[in-house]
């Protein structure tokens, strides 16, 4: 009995020492996560309860900014616009990315050159692309108007980025052009990972091209598609640079994505509390997007 009681503390001490070793190993990662992710998030939540300029004005306002977000049209209009933007851009990426990946997966002369060419939009910085298309679409001297006029499609210059109807589709088109190479590359790598034996077996079983696509290609690409769609959606949901450089969120609220709105509220108006509250809500939305995607696309 006495031996058993002596043995217990020894075992538990050993276990504790063993566990302590584990904690020591994970501590650098935990410290980094706390410093770079957890602390800023908690600080963001803290700020959202204050009307503050972060320096000398700290007025507690409770849930005022959260309530404003749900009662004023400005916030949800901006969020809905951002959703529409994200859906259109991601859909565009997947349609173009899928078509190009399928073509580039076939063997033909010059395939490597085309792979490089189609990757180019991804390699240019977003600001460069934004400025480039701003010049192309300029209403006074832009080459787009010039081409359309010479083809007889339009009779006078159009302000692509200055009209409430045209600014949003114009920005979406540029964002699709900028972002499709990532999706194309991911799908291409996924396609290359599907064994040709599977297609051969499907052919023997009498599957036509469409059935091969549905029953071999799509299931084979599912893990890649899940990751890509989550990454791409969240990336474009919080898009800032391209849209800001092209339109600054305007004209009016035509391209006023939530990221631009939050940035302007924080760094232009110096209303950091309101911006933090909206930022927290957007974080929750991004988290829900990823949850929904995982549920819909989960690999059975």
């Amino acid at each position: 009995m006495a031996a058993a009681t002596k043995e217990k503390p020894a075992t538990s001490r050993k276990l504790r020492r063993y566990q302590l070793g584990g904690y020591r190993f994970i501590s650098p990662a935990v410290i980094m996560m706390v410093a770079l992710i957890i602390y800023p998030m908690i600080y963001g939540v803290y700020l959202s309860f204050y009307n503050t300029n972060l320096v000398n004005k700290w007025k507690f306002v409770g849930l005022k900014y959260y309530l404003q977000a749900f009662t004023q049209s400005e916030f949800y209009t901006s969020v809905l616009l951002t959703f529409l933007f994200m859906i259109l851009v991601v859909a565009g990426h997947f349609i173009i990315g899928f078509i190009l990946a399928s073509v580039l997966n076939k063997k033909f002369v010059g395939r490597t050159i085309f792979r490089v060419i189609f990757m180019l939009p991804w390699l240019f910085p977003e600001t460069v692309i934004a400025l480039l298309f701003t010049w192309i679409m300029n209403p006074m001297y832009g080459v787009l108007n010039s081409i359309l006029k010479s083809l007889g499609i339009i009779s006078s210059n159009i302000s692509w980025l200055g009209s409430a109807q045209l600014a949003f589709p114009s920005v979406v088109a540029v964002c699709i052009w900028k972002g499709y190479p990532l999706v194309m590359t991911m799908i291409l790598s996924g396609l290359q990972g599907i064994s040709s034996d599977l297609y051969e077996a499907a052919r023997i079983d009498g599957a036509n091209k469409w059935k091969q696509f549905l029953n071999v290609t799509v299931p084979g690409l599912k893990p890649v598609l899940t990751t890509t769609i989550i990454l791409d959606s969240v990336w474009w949901f919080k898009q800032y640079t391209l849209v800001y450089t092209m339109t600054g969120g305007g004209p009016g609220t035509a391209t006023d994505l939530i990221s631009l709105n939050i940035y302007g509220t924080a760094f232009n108006d110096l209303r950091f509390g309101k911006a933090a509250a909206w930022g927290i809500i957007v974080f929750v939305i991004c988290y829900l997007i990823s949850k929904v995607y995982r549920m819909v696309l989960k690999d059975e």
Partner: protein, 432 residues
């Protein structure tokens, strides 16, 4: 053995590479470092003179090291607002204009310069200049130049069309209509009366504010009894608002794609002859002459039309950062005095088109012509005193959102004004 030798060689290289840093540190140890976050330096053609003046000053003061950080005016504001939460990296002084000063002052970034400037220095500024840089009784920044807004116009085109200088906005619109035409007869308008800055940024918003002031709309005013800022839109705000947007939407006297026309584009249109009038500070004269020297003798200016003052004096200059050390502040002030006084040719001011802040500077030959007349008349007639409202940037933003929404066809004038009023109430609630 090879690995050991490589490791020793690498360690030696690293050790040697650190040495110059030590030497530099020792060099800088005796010097006072002054960093300037400067918007002038990022602009052409006058930015070069900031560097030149800094070099000249360092030659005369070898114990002071001036580092100029060129950055655009709008970015300075944003950057300082972000940097103030970790003040170690703040510059010794920074560029500011009168419309950014209240916010930066509210953040506690601006040292009161009156304690650093003697009577002799203060007396060299022209009348009303130091008042234009004073907030709450504190001299918030050192004035380098002033540029009240006025209307630039093409004197040759006015003469050709038989037009008189307008004094009301209705007359202005008639002039703009007369100057909007298809000059090459190809069936498309290629010359517009008014080079409006219609972009929703600080440049566009400031001009719109000037226009509104000139119609008697103050937007906001300070209520001494309530000790709070309150809306002060005047009686005819809706009409005034609609008049401005109608210049694009109805009368088409401004260039196509107006929401994309920022200051640089508008100044370029004016310089290249696409437009005939432009609401601007005198710096646009510098841009016009630099881009198109043939315009010399063909540009005039007149005060903003309307029955009320339409502009502040719009002093610009450098603020002393309150977080800098006493030694750095003293050195920075020495540089500021040097900047204002040492260049007898006023190359910085003349090339930029800006009006000097000093009495001597305002006697310069280059501001005696027709091109500067409207600006000098505006100063003489008296400008609006500085508005010490910390949320001025937010106020400009909501104004910009309002006109931009109408220009793009997203909202009617009435809807935009209603939304503006709601946004103004919310802004004032946060800033009171």
């Amino acid at each position: 053995m090879l690995k050991k030798s490589l490791a020793v060689a690498l360690a030696s290289v690293m050790a040697v590479s650190v040495l110059p840093m030590g030497v530099m540190a020792a060099d800088n140890g005796d010097k006072v470092n002054v960093t300037i976050m400067c918007a002038y330096a990022s602009e052409d053609p006058h930015g070069q003179y900031v560097y030149q003046y800094a070099d000249d000053f360092m030659k005369e003061n070898p114990n002071i090291n001036i580092e100029v950080q060129a950055i655009s005016s709008n970015d300075i504001y944003t950057k300082l607002a972000a940097m103030v939460t970790s003040p170690d990296d703040l510059p010794t002084m920074f560029f500011t204009s009168v419309d950014q000063a209240p916010t930066l002052y509210d953040l506690g970034l601006m040292e009161d310069l009156s304690g650093y400037l003697d009577e002799e220095t203060l007396s060299m500024f022209a009348e009303g200049i130091t008042e234009a840089c004073t907030l709450d009784g504190s001299l918030a920044f050192y004035p380098i130049d002033v540029q009240p807004s006025a209307m630039l116009y093409r004197t040759d085109r006015f003469k050709e069309a038989g037009l008189e200088v307008p004094t009301t906005w209705d007359e202005f619109l008639e002039c703009a209509k007369a100057l909007t035409k298809d000059s090459d007869g190809d069936g498309e308008v290629d010359q517009w009366g008014f080079s409006m800055v219609g972009s929703n940024n600080s440049s566009g918003q400031s001009r719109f504010m000037s226009y509104l002031w000139s119609t008697g709309c103050n937007m906001i005013s300070y209520d001494e009894d309530e000790e709070a800022w309150v809306p002060d839109l005047g009686d005819n705000f809706n009409d005034s608002f609609a008049f401005w947007t109608d210049m694009n939407n109805e009368y088409k006297v401004v260039p196509t794609g107006i929401t994309e026309v920022d200051y640089a584009t508008a100044a370029n249109y004016f310089a290249m002859g696409y437009t005939s009038m432009m609401l601007s500070g005198s710096n646009a004269i510098g841009v016009a002459y630099a881009s198109n020297p043939d315009l010399k003798g063909n540009i005039g200016s007149f005060p903003i039309p309307g029955g009320h003052p339409g502009t502040m004096l719009n002093a610009e200059g450098y603020a002393l950062c309150s977080y800098a050390s006493d030694e750095e502040k003293a050195a920075a002030v020495d540089f500021l005095k040097f900047f204002s006084t040492h260049d007898k040719d006023l190359k910085f001011w003349q090339s930029s088109g800006k009006i000097p802040s000093t009495i001597e500077g305002q006697k310069a030959e280059y501001i005696t012509g027709d091109d500067y007349k409207g600006y000098l008349d505006t100063i003489k007639a008296g400008c609006i005193p500085p508005m010490n409202f910390a949320g001025i940037s937010g106020l400009k933003s909501i104004l910009g959102d309002a006109y931009s929404a109408v220009f793009s066809g997203e909202k009617t004038n009435d809807a935009a004004v209603e939304d503006f009023k709601a946004a103004l109430d919310e802004l004032l609630e946060d800033y009171n």
